[in-house]
Symmetry: C4
Subunit: 231 residues, 4 copies
Amino acid sequence: MTIDLPRRLVAEGLGTAFLVATVVGSGIMAETLAHDPAVALLANTLATGAMLVVLITILGPISGAHFNPAVSLIFALRGDLDARDAGLYVLVQIIGGIAGTWVAHLMFAHPLLEFALKERSGLAQWFSEAIASFGLVATILAGLRHHRRAVPWLVGLYITAAYWFTASTSFANPAVAIARSLTNSFSGIRPFDLPGFIMAELIGALAGLALMGWLLREPALTRNHEVETNP
Amino acid sequence: MTIDLPRRLVAEGLGTAFLVATVVGSGIMAETLAHDPAVALLANTLATGAMLVVLITILGPISGAHFNPAVSLIFALRGDLDARDAGLYVLVQIIGGIAGTWVAHLMFAHPLLEFALKERSGLAQWFSEAIASFGLVATILAGLRHHRRAVPWLVGLYITAAYWFTASTSFANPAVAIARSLTNSFSGIRPFDLPGFIMAELIGALAGLALMGWLLREPALTRNHEVETNP
Amino acid sequence: MTIDLPRRLVAEGLGTAFLVATVVGSGIMAETLAHDPAVALLANTLATGAMLVVLITILGPISGAHFNPAVSLIFALRGDLDARDAGLYVLVQIIGGIAGTWVAHLMFAHPLLEFALKERSGLAQWFSEAIASFGLVATILAGLRHHRRAVPWLVGLYITAAYWFTASTSFANPAVAIARSLTNSFSGIRPFDLPGFIMAELIGALAGLALMGWLLREPALTRNHEVETNP
Amino acid sequence: MTIDLPRRLVAEGLGTAFLVATVVGSGIMAETLAHDPAVALLANTLATGAMLVVLITILGPISGAHFNPAVSLIFALRGDLDARDAGLYVLVQIIGGIAGTWVAHLMFAHPLLEFALKERSGLAQWFSEAIASFGLVATILAGLRHHRRAVPWLVGLYITAAYWFTASTSFANPAVAIARSLTNSFSGIRPFDLPGFIMAELIGALAGLALMGWLLREPALTRNHEVETNP
């Protein structure tokens, strides 16, 4: 890691801000324009997926482009990020995310400070978030192992699918969840529902780390291969 | 093949589960939200295509990322997969697919066990499935021959198109068809209609193998070229 | 060119058939499902663009993947394809295209033989087709010059845009136009209107060849550069 | 830069013309067909994003594919383009853009000369344009630094997202804004509102240049790294 910490932190904060501004802003635009709620979610999905590819590509070489405390936690547990830096990453991700909500509100002439009223809670929602985060971490870890340059696309496409195949529209990101609790629009989540979401996201991420640690460890020879190699 | 069989089987099962969870889950989300049925199918298409690119990219290096008994059969017939492994692949694909339906039901708070009531039968549907599977196998075999790293994209894009250009929305996958018989939602198929679908899929896949075997065999010189080379 | 002519012709015919089956089939599916006509065209666009990327990628190494008499004409004029082969390419493209319409009709249980009643005529439509074909040829020639491996994507994306920015939805392909005159569905065109479309497409294609011939010729030094190099 | 100036200027003019014809033409097609305004904007977005990838890929090797006075200004300020050429680039971008509007009007049988009546003004709109241009310049500069070949995709995807996450649908381009003031259709902007848009775009672009200049400068060693390297 040859980039100095201040720039890495700015990159994490900037990226998370743009990501949240995209999620919240496109949600406002979509619910304003759309008659069909599925069209609104399609537009929200398209904007988010496209922006993820861009942000991870351009900021990845600087900070790793986590934009997500669950992802920074996973890299810290793997030993790829030291504990202090991981803590600072999470801090600027949360600050950046909140700034992103405010930028979206300024662009759409919403009140700067809002709290979401949209309820997102219950076992099905939490299970959705756990599955979403499990898949996200699996995608990132497997992508980094075999297809490093494709990771921005993989994450963008994964989230594109996850908006639709999970009942929670796949937040899969505690910093983004916190930022989305501060907008009373299409993409909001009640502040009260944050703990359940964040807990489910962390559990899913840890499960992804565990499974992929096994699935991606250096290839062990099968018994057949051993016989062939050591007759 | 240097990855041990247990991990290859887990990769096939996991991938098929995520694929089916995406098809079924995004179908439920889409029919819940959409007023326009074409928007529902668009969302279902987008999620499935995006997820296929991700799953084949990240799990391909482990198991080959078939997620489809018709594809495993083709590779077994080509001698790329031995018969025992092909049988185990098919088994875990079916188990993984069913698990995927259940995961989707849990995420959307549907009853775990359902049977589809949606009729999908008749000559036009079967012909559609045969064409869909023919094209899928042709895409995979030609892609592997000339553009190995592009195969995840080719399959994702092919299925994106095939959702729309076939009358059956292109299942093209016996394991996915079985799993979809266990959901009474947007993407379901009556269990009674499974044999027709699966038979059509296998016929189409075999036709694809036959044609591409000829089209992709090592280039033969044309008479003109022979004359030029051996005057 | 090391592939023998029979296989090149089969690849051209097969590719054009799949292209037309996608255009016609997805058009039928879309008009059947959609309430909003713009959603129908979006689905038609998505399927066509995705299939073009697949077909050009997988069949390009065999036949060059023209699937389009206007494109084969341009390559013949550039000396990349001899006149006899170009004539045979055009013949199998037309035959393949018609077969593609029939395959789509079989999949959707339409009568095999139909004639389109949809009028597509007039100066604005012809100008649209000329612009569409001009841009297609420019995209192909410039793509081949600098980004050969990206050409399938460039063509798929160009046609995706051209469905919407031209008033004719951009046929830009005489063989596809002929095949579409044989379906009385979303993507049809009256047989009576074919000559105007085909003439406009060829004029646009030739204009594209002329402009790109100049724009892409080997770089000439500017006066400034000459001064710098030969002081 | 080895391509002579006349061809570079033609490439800039041609590219801007196609870009504007796509924005305006797909806007007309979309508002004509769509019942749901969000579907119209989705179609407009899809066509524009796809065309940007194509145009930047095929014309980038000739002129750099700016198509945007704000981008040419940034490259001039960085010393990548001399002042005279930058002035000529801007001139042909404006001329090309206007020609693009007229081509779209001819294709859709609109009156050639129109003036937009759609109001786009106010602090929220200007802030949106500044954010949109800031992000565009950041994307281009960071993309060129680390992923030169991906830049066409990054710009296409960025604009795809920006259509939705900004309240102004992200013109982010003074030449395109001028051209869009000459169409009284979906994508129009009142001539009276141009100065505010253009000023906001230039401010955003300069802010992007400033931030990325710092973020992307050659890596400085952190104090920790210095200690490790020079103990």
